[in-house]
Symmetry: C2
Subunit: 238 residues, 2 copies
DNA sequence: TAGTGGTCTAGACCACGCC
DNA sequence: GCGTGGTCTAGACCACTAC
């Protein structure tokens, strides 16, 4: 499952790209060469290369080969579901989390009506994210009790997703996100120590499990001067 | 190429999903059923379903089937390379474009150094995007003359990408984007008719051709109160 | 236990870039 | 013409869900 062939090959190739064994602008070995290198079939190689392509590590050109791309971009991706703690580990940040609130509270009315839910019990968590001694983000989470009955302050302090996935065995599958810029409530601007503006970047997420049940609603409020979102996208036809 | 089987199947299924022939929350026919329906092999069906999955139209669950997702979200995607004119056609917007500047001008120094280019000749275009009689976006494009020697005001007025792809045969492949919130120059805030703030959403894009050559740099400055970015993402393992 | 999706294989033909 | 990636096939085995 996690140890399937094409995934391992993709990991191996991406390691070699990141370590410079395949240089930027150069071609990877051809797909038929790779079948010999990894002793597998061509379709399996192609699945691995497809992974690298969506990740923005290579660009495939018909009749030519797979070109290794320059990958000096990643900064603060909000695309893909990546949580603050996972970022924290991959990036080098002196970051901390302060749990401000943890209580039972219903979903905002607009969300529960949109989800066609009738006031489901939920846990509300408000957390302040601090990077390099500066307050940067206020996160507000609503997590349905149907899936997570109990959350302790310690779990909120550490990674919630690790608790959900590793301890509870929840299968988090996908999310929709919306980024806007809005006037923040006074308590938020105060927490973020905003002086000259009350505009804040709102990232609202609806997160779902593998069986498509709605699971969590998050409002992430970012200091505008610290907000950065980096994306890689292929040109789509239609 | 554009008429390959799995693509047509994906289009057909996505039409049927959007028209409610397969209802939200229900299962699609199984993959083996679909092979019979479309008279093709299972791997081809799977490629089609993979398209629908990345597009956020279905969620596949092992041992169960492909669940049709609720797709009432799309609004103003900056993810995927979609241009203002393409949006304009798909959404219902009374939108217009005003070309403010069109001249020869070099790339900003930080970009040309980052691209390791030495002051390549480029065309500079500044355009104001107006929706429902309101100024919403100022776009500034730098397009390398190496690939597009001449751009007329009429082309800038209409879709540049249509000119590049259909007339010049350029193959636009991918882009990196960065979204930030910054203080805008006075002329921009004036164009966008901003009164209470001078904060503006910057979307900077580097666009590349299929052969990985750098092609275009765009700075898109959005009125913060009109900016909206919607995204769909799958949970990624590492 | 039956049906589902996930993976893998070994072959085939095609369109494209390059020489 | 040769090598490349893009597509498609018909089969196989496995892991998971549901009953």
């Amino acid at each position: 499952m996690v140890v399937c062939k094409y995934w391992q090959i993709a990991q191996d190739l991406s390691e070699k790209i990141k370590h410079g064994q395949y240089a930027t602008g150069e071609l990877l070995p051809s797909e038929t060469d790779l079948t010999r290198l990894y002793n597998t079939s061509r379709e399996t190689i192609r699945k691995a290369l497809a992974e690298l392509s969506v990740a923005g590590l290579i660009q495939k050109v018909k009749g030519k080969g797979s070109i290794v791309l320059n990958t000096a971009r990643f900064a603060f991706p909000v695309s893909d579901i990546v949580t603050f703690n996972e970022l924290n580990q991959s990036e080098q940040m002196r970051a901390q989390t302060k749990v401000l609130q943890l209580k039972n509270q219903q979903l905002p009315a607009d969300i529960s009506s949109r989800m066609r839910l009738r006031q489901p019990p939920a846990t509300f968590i408000q957390r302040l994210r601090i990077v390099n001694e500066e307050p940067v983000i206020v996160d507000e989470d609503y997590i349905l009790k149907k899936f997570v009955p109990v959350i302790t302050e310690e779990q909120a302090q550490n990674s919630l997703y690790s608790y959900f996935e590793n301890d509870l065995g929840l299968k988090i599958a996908y999310a929709t996100k919306m980024i806007t810029v809005e006037t923040a409530p006074a308590d938020i601007t105060k927490l973020l120590k905003l002086a000259t503006t009350d505009l804040v970047v709102f990232v609202r997420s609806l997160t779902y499990l593998q069986d498509t049940s709605f699971f969590q609603y998050t409002i992430s409020m970012h200091r505008p001067d610290k907000f950065k979102f980096v994306d890689f996208a292929h040109r789509k036809k239609l």
